[in-house]
Point group: C2
Chain length 326, copies 2
Amino acid sequence: MTNHTLDSPTFAVVFSDILAARERLRAIVPPTPIHTCSTIDALAGRSLVFKCEHLQKVGAFKFRGAWNAVSKLSDDVAARGVVTHSSGNHAQALALAARMRNIPAYIVMPKNAPAVKRAAVVGYGATVIDCEPTLAARESECARVQSETGATLIHPFDNADVIAGQGTALVELLEQSSDLDAVVTPVGGGGLLSGTCIAAAHLKSNLRVFGAEPLAADDAARSLRSGAWQPPTSPSTIADGLKTSLGELTWPIIRQQVERIITVTEPEIVAAMRLAWERAKLLIEPSSAVAIAAVLTPEVRDLSGLRRVGVILSGGNVDLDRLPWM
Amino acid sequence: MTNHTLDSPTFAVVFSDILAARERLRAIVPPTPIHTCSTIDALAGRSLVFKCEHLQKVGAFKFRGAWNAVSKLSDDVAARGVVTHSSGNHAQALALAARMRNIPAYIVMPKNAPAVKRAAVVGYGATVIDCEPTLAARESECARVQSETGATLIHPFDNADVIAGQGTALVELLEQSSDLDAVVTPVGGGGLLSGTCIAAAHLKSNLRVFGAEPLAADDAARSLRSGAWQPPTSPSTIADGLKTSLGELTWPIIRQQVERIITVTEPEIVAAMRLAWERAKLLIEPSSAVAIAAVLTPEVRDLSGLRRVGVILSGGNVDLDRLPWM
């Protein structure tokens, strides 16, 4: 990891990047709605405002960053396409963003990725490239595609344009609900959380920012507690979007601006997901449920000064044939 | 049925009733969001705008009518409470509306109603009164409660205040998306559809209004085709909110103002529900899926002049342990 000092960080993203991203997004998609649920408020002990990124294009906030990165490319560079390695929402987001700009997208996916995710990416018109299910294989395959095609790598989170795009969710949320005392986002690689930090610092400097993470993949929580980046430890969690660890660009921002990262257990994630589906009619994926589970923990319930809390629900891509309570 | 002439109907509801209802609702709940999905648009062959009543309070448009009816009661009358017979969304809606006004609600339910629906009503603070699962038993039990308590009967759909409340969904929808050529709503008892008719006629007289109904409960379609109210025939459909037949107040409005009622099969309903969940992340119940299934039929796809169509998704109360594709 690059070493950043806490006092004079040079962050990869500044607020004007987020504002520019917001204009690029505003031109093609309306703001996602917010939603409230009195039943969940009662359980949380305060008012919650849910930002519905599962209703974003491709069913995830990832479209924000992918679109910002793709739309910023010059015509010459864009024409050679974009490439990434992902089997998750970023893959679909990049595939759709590329199709919307009418350029090629190459998605490197582990051979063992679920057929439904592969089909979704192909459905958006991308070329899927198989690789062995290891980080080394993914990165070397990505490098090969880059050198052969000239495609631009769009990393799922450790990319300044992606981070700036993800920060637009909070810009919208504060326009929709200006009276928030805090915001909670799930944290995996940290693109959403770090973008949220930059937007918060400039739009509402007293807005408290929290991350929410599966206990089974708690590298971000351990990093923040220790003050030093901690490696992941082969996490196994139902929140499959949150297995990645923080990046070189996201960690310095999170380290400086996040108040705390709340960890939740697997049963808490499943219970929060079911609660959101049953009572709030929010069709969210487990990674989103992590943020709801966090605000229901005694740790957060006991925090004072939080009258109204925004919760960014990251996505809704779920295998409907295998729901976790069935 | 009361006999109404087609040329000079005296409808139970006029547009000013809907506007008044809209003010009563606006004071307590924000408009429900709209949503679009390019994948479903491609299948429908045109642009669809979904009005998300599953994100309404109690997860259904029924809250609109229940709140309008409850809030219109004088203090004296309200203090004696409200009563209805329903095991569906109207029961929950009336229970919540009564709790919000701090008055008693008595819900007559068949003994064999699902425990989860009973629990939801009790959760909203209502008193549940068991009856035998017949229409006669429900009505006599309702009458007994009325005479013993002085509670006001709020019928699920054949009530002018309820119809006026349901009409507010289209008022909001046209504010959110004014360029609609048509609107489709599910039809059971016809409260939503008839309220939609009155609002459409006054806000946008060239807006074409369609009903959507399960083929297995096609009494409204048969009524409209024949021009005379047709009785139901013990319908069995997964769209449990649409088993009721049109009422004395709703049928005359629907007869005059609905262009056609589209019927859909049970497999079409399940496929539309799964499509809405999987691709649009809309957690809707089968009754809502009936309206989506309708716009995907060749019958509707072949209609000309419909560039953009509003689809009112009626609710999202689903038994998550028994999804129809599992």
